[in-house]
Symmetry: C2
Subunit: 437 residues, 2 copies
């Protein structure tokens, strides 16, 4: 098998843009103002041939040539060689993206919700026509994680990833950690600074992170997952007390996206967990994102950067666009990603994890012995224990226990059995511990 | 421009391996034992058709089929579609790699010394025939940094990178930081644990990091640099006192590889510097590597992982191999990387940096005023100053100063002027401060 000499003429590729919001208008700006430099850098000239918007007269951050603006998305697609989709939402976006892919037009998208719901269908459409589907911007914003996962680790095997993939919640938890603020106050500050939306549900309930988890896990494990496969808990229940207790014990609470091999399948989860402060993920502050990957041969890797924002996300979109353009210009078709492994998503029950449990218990002799018996009966062993007075009740102590590793089901059964004990007044909090031991 | 449907039959690609050391034998093992899984995963069957070694009877970590072993490297190249070069050294490797590339055979190499000396020549040979030259393993071992730099940031512009790209020196400095050990003791421990070679010169003098810096900078700045363009200082002069003083001030000493835009050019340097402990690079412990990148749109990114070792490096080689194989199977030729920007390498003089300076000075009134005048005369301002008794001399104080940012030339001129002051007994240490302010 041999290769032929590359073409010497600069090929021109027509780019159709769907959406001109924060990211879309940045992408348009770069394509319009840096065309020569991009051509020089990439060997392909990218010509923006149309921008589909909902309202051509709307005010935008970047002034766009009126002759490119249209409300007719289909016309933009028809005219283009490559389609950049930055409208978001499921429909009519899904139909449009499918139409483009089936026509052999490569698509770059940052739409994690669409990918987490219909990723397989889109991949199949791309494979059928030889088009490429690229979505670096959909997972962890500007951080190059999709391409390394797909290409750099193509000869390796991923055992687990741990990701901080939502900047809003990381900002809130970091504020709580560094200032002692309550969740509501930290959220209000995030909203004031533009890190959180007026309706923060998708972020604080973990839905955004869960969509990204499904997309990344599909790549990492050569399988096909949707958001429904991801166990998802948000951070609204995390209290200032939880954060302070974690800090005291050398941990920090993060909303973690986990995808890990578990028996013959894969468990996918998003939930607030404690991680050691000195773990590299513990140093991911503010609205930054990071993905920690454990691979069979490569060992531990981490990818860190800005998870959101117009410019960073535009950078990821442009990287995809240039790669797609070069591949097309050089005659390559898309790499069909077969979910050949088809590892099933398994429930939380079988996951091996550790739990940090805070109990309010009667402050009298013999309590510890009773608690210890419950742990022993459930086959769960205690790693550390700390006892202090409950500031709220004089005859009560607060017990903070961290277990050794165990099956999640056994750990949760232990917590339920503890709750039933007459000496236990309240199970104040239950937080998994990750990235340690 | 349109694309055609991908081929459905699994293409076979003949792989010739040069070298069967720690990394080479791991690569061979994976190719021989995981052929089916790799074919399924990548859509290409990789057939190992020959392994060139110096001595076919030598003992190896991995048992290799004798019929594949030969001392005739040229025969291995002739028989192959893709060549994996893991022999190291400049000649005869350079001649062999050039011959393969000119014959249109893609080459995967982990040879940073060769790339740092003859990278441009190899790139030109590849561009001429349409072959691909891949070298993820040559920079920061298993960390995917070459591909993100080349592809993911293709639509962005890199302003600066700061890398910890030599595991041996990071291990030594980390030991000195965490245990207070002297350089010699930390080196001895690194040697005992297999992190440092019997002759540690290439690592501790910064030559290995400088080669990687030249390779990464060529990619990052679309230019062509050799190791001669890199200002290089090793860590043999770093003392336990330096490390302890840095620690006390909230810094950690790292051997940093820096590539940054500077005026109309780029400055490339490798030297021991102080970085803030709470910077993400400050948390890179042991033999780990990391590269921190500042890009125009993407903002700050960091890539972290194992910089050396057989399995991690083999992972990077296999990633390159699979990518090259897929591209060839899909009909793509290599992407010619033109060093179109051709940013000149500029000297240290013009670099903007900060310095931490430790002086031994007479312990009497008026000394500070004289020092301050020297700084003012050179247009350099002082950021922090700490005075303590010199444990070695009763009538001497140790002054630790950190400057604000200034031109390196002015900062060094200031240090020389300080050295000339009669009240200054000794300039104990001079360490640049990076990644702060």
């Amino acid at each position: 098998m041999n290769t032929s000499a590359p073409a010497r003429e600069t090929p021109v590729l027509k780019v159709g843009l769907l959406g001109a919001g924060t990211v879309g208008s940045q992408v348009a700006r770069v394509l319009l103002t840096q065309s020569d430099e991009l051509a020089q850098r990439t060997g392909v000239r990218l010509a923006l041939t149309g921008i589909a918007v909902r309202d051509v007269t709307a005010r935008r951050d970047v002034e766009l040539p009126p002759e490119l603006l249209t409300t007719d998305a289909d016309a933009v697609i028809d005219r283009a060689d490559v389609v950049v989709e930055l409208t978001g939402g499921i429909e009519p976006t899904r139909t449009r993206v499918l139409r483009a892919l089936k026509a052999g037009k490569s698509v770059i998208t940052g739409n994690k919700a669409l990918l987490a719901e219909s990723g397989r269908e889109l991949q199949d459409a791309a494979a059928g026509s030889g088009a490429q589907l690229s979505y670096e911007a959909a997972v962890a914003g500007a951080i190059p994680i999709v391409r390394p996962m797909r290409d750099s680790l193509a000869g390796d095997s991923v055992n687990r990833f741990l990701g901080i993939m939502n900047g809003t919640t990381n900002f809130i938890l970091d504020q709580m950690d560094s200032t002692g603020a309550a969740f509501d106050d930290a959220l209000a500050e995030a909203q004031e600074l533009g890190y959180a939306e007026a309706d923060p549900t998708a972020d604080v309930e973990g839905h955004d992170a869960a969509a990204k988890t499904a997309v990344l896990a599909s790549l990492a494990f050569h399988s096909s997952y949707t958001i429904a496969d991801v166990h998802c808990e948000g951070i609204t229940g995390v209290t200032a007390d939880d954060v302070a207790a974690a800090r005291e014990a050398g941990y920090v609470i993060k909303l973690l996206s986990v995808g890990e091999r578990c028996g013959d399948g894969v468990n996918l989860r998003v939930n607030p967990v404690m991680i050691p402060r000195d773990h590299v993920l513990g140093g991911v502050r503010g609205a930054y994102n990071a993905v920690f990957v454990e691979a069979e041969n490569a060992g531990s890797l981490m990818f860190y950067g800005q998870g959101a924002g117009g410019d960073p996300t535009a950078s990821a979109v442009l990287g995809d666009l240039v790669s797609a353009a070069r591949a097309i210009a050089l005659g390559a078709t898309g790499i069909p990603l077969e979910p050949y492994a088809a590892l099933p998503a398994v429930s939380m029950d079988d996951v091996t994890t550790r739990l940090a449990v805070t109990l309010a218990a009667n402050d009298r002799l013999g309590v510890l012995a009773r608690l210890a018996k419950v742990f022993a009966d459930n086959g769960v062993s205690i790693s550390t224990m700390q006892q202090s007075e409950d500031p709220r009740e004089s005859d009560t102590s607060l017990l903070r226990l961290v277990t050794h590793s165990g099956r999640h089901e056994s750990l949760m059964a232990t917590v339920e059995a503890l709750r039933e004990l007459p000496v236990v007044q309240d199970v104040v909090s239950v937080t998994p511990v990750e990235a340690g031991e």
